[in-house]
Symmetry: C4
Subunit: 209 residues, 4 copies
């Protein structure tokens, strides 16, 4: 398969995942004349939506820039990529769990929903780790591998670690967990900025087309 | 990231948003033998659907023609664009609020639904404003910037103003609000026509490929 | 806008419409141990799904081959195309009405559902007619217009006529209506075959790239 | 139609089918404070999701590599391809039947759900068989047909046979049926690996671009 077809397909899945998240917004049951109260009570849905939209959006930017460095794909890479897409589509589910459990304000349920969220995030980061490891061994599939890889190679390990700590932290204190999940997402964004800067540098140096 | 990949991704999100709107059409609960009455009573769903379809459609045409003038993207632009896409996917929700509240004919709820709609529209226009401001400063990312930008630079300010007035107007009179939201959408469409004319002129003058 | 971007966007909307149709298939309420009976009782959903899938599929093939003859787009064409896409996404709704009303076996409701279906189909064909008329006047937008247009110019009028007769027929006899809607869809398919043959002939003659 | 447009459209449908599968994950009804138990009781949904995601994913990889060997399309091929896409979108439905019936633990219902799943899988394989047969006769549409086709020509017959045996086996023993469906999916994956290896070999030999 040509690498740009793989990327177009992956971009398509990311675009659909991003957009399907909105289906979680349903008109609430409300007492006629008090729609406003019912909608305002849905703030957890909005919060969970914002969290997941920018998380998936960052993952897309990241995935896109990373695959732009790959010049060829093969069977193994296709399977790793399909697994990443699988876990990304899954995010939809813990997002719903979050908004539902926060709306119902039970602490044990909220903790469980955050646990699911952190678990999916951890698996996503672990699969990116597998991707990095695989590409490190098969650098013939990549353009200008060494230097590029050196800069970013520890990023997935770091985010796996953050989500693992989040998973443990949540069991003791929900809000500590939330804080760590947010840290994880922000870390992704920073990692993306670094990846992008490194990709851009190659472009400017004319080392890459 | 290459600008055409960013555009393909954004086009994908717009296409999905447009199509998901139809999921708001559900077969109504009806008394057997009187499906026709139940369907006719769903006219608010159709009206809200038409409103949002052509609103999002216009936004797409607009977004598409604007990004066709950009020759390169960067981190900041990616984040602005992702934020625009975020608010565009949100439209789905006030659309449902509108059709539901109009069907139930409570004036306070209708007013609230229009308020939500105008609010989302205002934020979308504000983000386009941010986009215009950003591009005005970074004209190195654009082709033939000056003249093109002069023609259209005040459009988002105008539509933000329209939606802000709509937001206030709705609180006094729902139908004034509706009228202003429609004005806002029609204004978008006119703005698109002007943008398109200006883009086409460059093409004809051979200043652009 | 470049014509291939318009086509990619339209193809995207068609692909999503085709796939969303399946969401009408929901696991039925069933008595435990008798899932098979409940599923078999859903045959109208399957029938409506098959009808709409191949109808939308044919429309896509048709739309695709027609736009492949257009070399440039403009504001008016964008608006006509957006209107066509609007009515195509609408098909989802009468499809649900059909499967629901047939399952409930009330004749008046079935007749009404078929009326809605024929109405949407008629509007789609009417918009294709508008497209043909517009392109006939603006042949500067098309490649090798004359001969190509002569072959197919009456097709939309014919299908509008078929659906108009279907609309009337349904009021007297549901099954006559069904028969005419099927005729309409089959006519679309034949029209597509003719369009495709004519497009292919140009290719073989080397008149077109 | 150009073959790459047909492929882009098909890729789009596959991407949407893959992503829509996640909509089957709904927040379960749960007793407040016991969300964890309700979510854990949803394991059949996760299992069915994993099964179908990797099945559709494999079909996509397969479809993609196969169509990469085709250099031109025509009316008949478009119709065969549309039929394949039709059955692929259908998978959504037996996936829901599976997760629902396993959750309710009635053996007769589970057997019926597996029967539906195997039936859809059988029809998909049968349509791939039709595709292979058609391409065998029309090798003018393919690049380097003979050798390539010899390697893979019996694959669809084999998978039709596996699903047919699964269909019969399920009637006697649900778990035998499950085992055979899994075998069928794994067989698809192996067939994909063989197809991919054969495609790659041509690339390396410079026989294909």
């Amino acid at each position: 398969m040509k690498i740009d077809r793989l990327q177009a397909f992956s971009d398509g899945v990311f675009a659909i995942v991003l957009t399907l998240l909105v289906l979680d917004f349903k008109v609430p049951n409300y007492q006629i004349g008090h729609l406003n109260q019912a909608v305002i009570a849905q703030w957890p849905t909005l919060a969970a939506y914002i969290l997941s939209f920018f998380y998936v959006g960052t993952l897309w930017l990241f995935h896109h820039d990373y695959f732009a460095k790959i010049k060829q794909t093969n069977r193994q890479l296709n399977v790793i990529n399909l697994s990443i897409l699988f876990t990304v589509t899954l995010i939809n589910y813990p997002t719903s769990l979050l908004s539902e459990s926060i709306a119902k304000q039970n602490n044990a349920d909220i903790r469980f929903a955050f646990t699911c969220y952190a678990l999916v995030a951890l698996v996503i980061s672990a699969l990116f780790w597998a991707l990095y490891r695989y590409m490190a061994v098969h650098h013939e599939l990549m353009r200008h591998h060494e230097q590029f890889y050196q800069t970013i190679k520890n990023d997935p390990v770091r985010s796996v670690t953050i989500y693992a700590i989040a998973l443990i932290g949540i069991q003791f204190n929900s809000w500590l967990g939330v804080f760590l999940i947010l840290m994880g997402n922000i870390f992704h964004f920073i990692a993306y900025l670094r990846l992008n800067r490194s990709v851009t540098r190659y472009h400017l140096n004319g080392k890459d087309d």
